[in-house]
């Protein structure tokens, strides 16, 4: 049985990098060819393991950036003091191999059958699983109405900028740039707070489903803000990551 994938069992395997592109000066999307990928749901994760020549290894979990059925992709932000992310952003090349396992997770996950309306709120690289959800909605032909609120520091920090700028029926995108805005900026300019949520999120009466991902402090403010706007707490899904500070 050695070398045979056991159904349901999570095993490390070797993926090959098929494409890589920069989303911002510090964020890179990496597409992977995974030999035995069982398929994933939007919002799930995969684990990456790097092993040094001396045997020391480090594992990190990354949100999958692609929809179900699409090529597996992760979008990685370089953390300057990180053990894994600088390798993935700066060293990894197309054709290289990468040890990984997945998909894992099931909490921060959306499928078309889950319905909506959806309010997606992302801070910084917290946009990654929300992008997977948006792509999944499109792939599945869902007409669930979506509002996306995306907070970043500066215009050059916006990940998936061109993709999000494409008009899609039923999808409204709101931006807030909290530190620096381009000339003529018509979006928001402050950190997400309750009044901003009240302006952009669906009224609670529509029984919306919320996905909130970003740095811990950002997620706390948004999740408690939505609950204060009478959202059902169990319909506010959250994912927190350390991130690199203020958004």
């Amino acid at each position: 049985m050695e070398g045979t994938a056991v159904p349901g069992r999570l095993t490390w395997q070797v993926a090959t990098v098929t494409a890589a592109r920069w989303e911002t000066p510090s964020v890179r999307t990496i597409e992977l060819d995974v030999p035995s990928w069982t398929g994933h749901r939007a919002g799930q994760h995969l684990d990456v393991r790097l092993t040094a020549e001396d045997g020391y290894s480090a594992e990190r979990s990354y949100s999958i950036a692609s929809a179900a059925g699409e090529q597996v992709a992760i979008t990685v932000e370089r953390l300057d003091d990180g053990e894994v992310s600088p390798y993935l952003t700066d060293e990894l090349r197309v054709g290289d191999q990468l040890e990984m396992r997945g998909p894992v997770g099931g909490y921060f996950v959306w499928e078309a059958a889950d319905g909506g309306p959806l309010i997606l709120v992302g801070g910084g690289s917290g946009i990654v699983p929300l992008r997977a959800i948006l792509r999944e909605r499109e792939r599945a032909g869902s007409d669930v109405p979506v509002r996306l609120l995306y907070s970043a520091r500066t215009p050059s920090d916006l990940i998936y900028r061109d993709e999000l700028a494409i008009h899609r029926d039923g999808v409204e995108v709101f931006y807030t740039l909290t530190r620096e805005q381009p000339a003529g900026w018509a979006g928001y300019t402050r950190r997400v707070d309750r009044p901003l949520l009240a302006e952009t999120a669906w009224p609670a009466g529509k029984n919306p489903l919320a996905f909130v991902c970003g740095p811990t402090s950002f997620v706390e403010i948004v999740a408690s803000g939505l609950v204060a706007l009478d959202y059902q707490p169990d319909r506010v899904k959250t994912e927190r990551f350390g991130g690199t500070g203020e958004r």
Partner: protein, 87 residues
């Protein structure tokens, strides 16, 4: 160490339990609050993986690797419901 949440431990938990566990509802042995593992606090900075209650910060789960073996401490949980939270 920055604060993460249980979603990032999905792989390790699946390795240990053999199933997806982030949707499972943990009942904290200290304060009795019930929450999905995915929403619990996760700390990777010390030895091993530590999952704490988001309500009272008590330790729910500790997983350490010793010579390739996972050592799992679940004493901080009164219950673990794989059906998830109600509603």
């Amino acid at each position: 160490m920055d604060e993460l949440d249980g979603n990032r431990a999905a792989g390790l938990l699946q390795e240990v339990f053999g199933a997806e566990m982030t949707t499972a509802a943990a009942t904290c042995a200290s304060c009795g609050s019930v929450a999905p593992i995915g929403e619990s606090d996760l700390y990777l900075g010390g030895p091993g993986t530590v999952i704490r209650c988001r309500t009272c910060t008590s330790i729910l789960i500790v997983i350490t690797q010793v010579r390739g073996m996972n050592c799992v401490d679940l004493m901080g949980m009164r219950a673990l419901d794989t059906e998830g939270t109600p509603g």
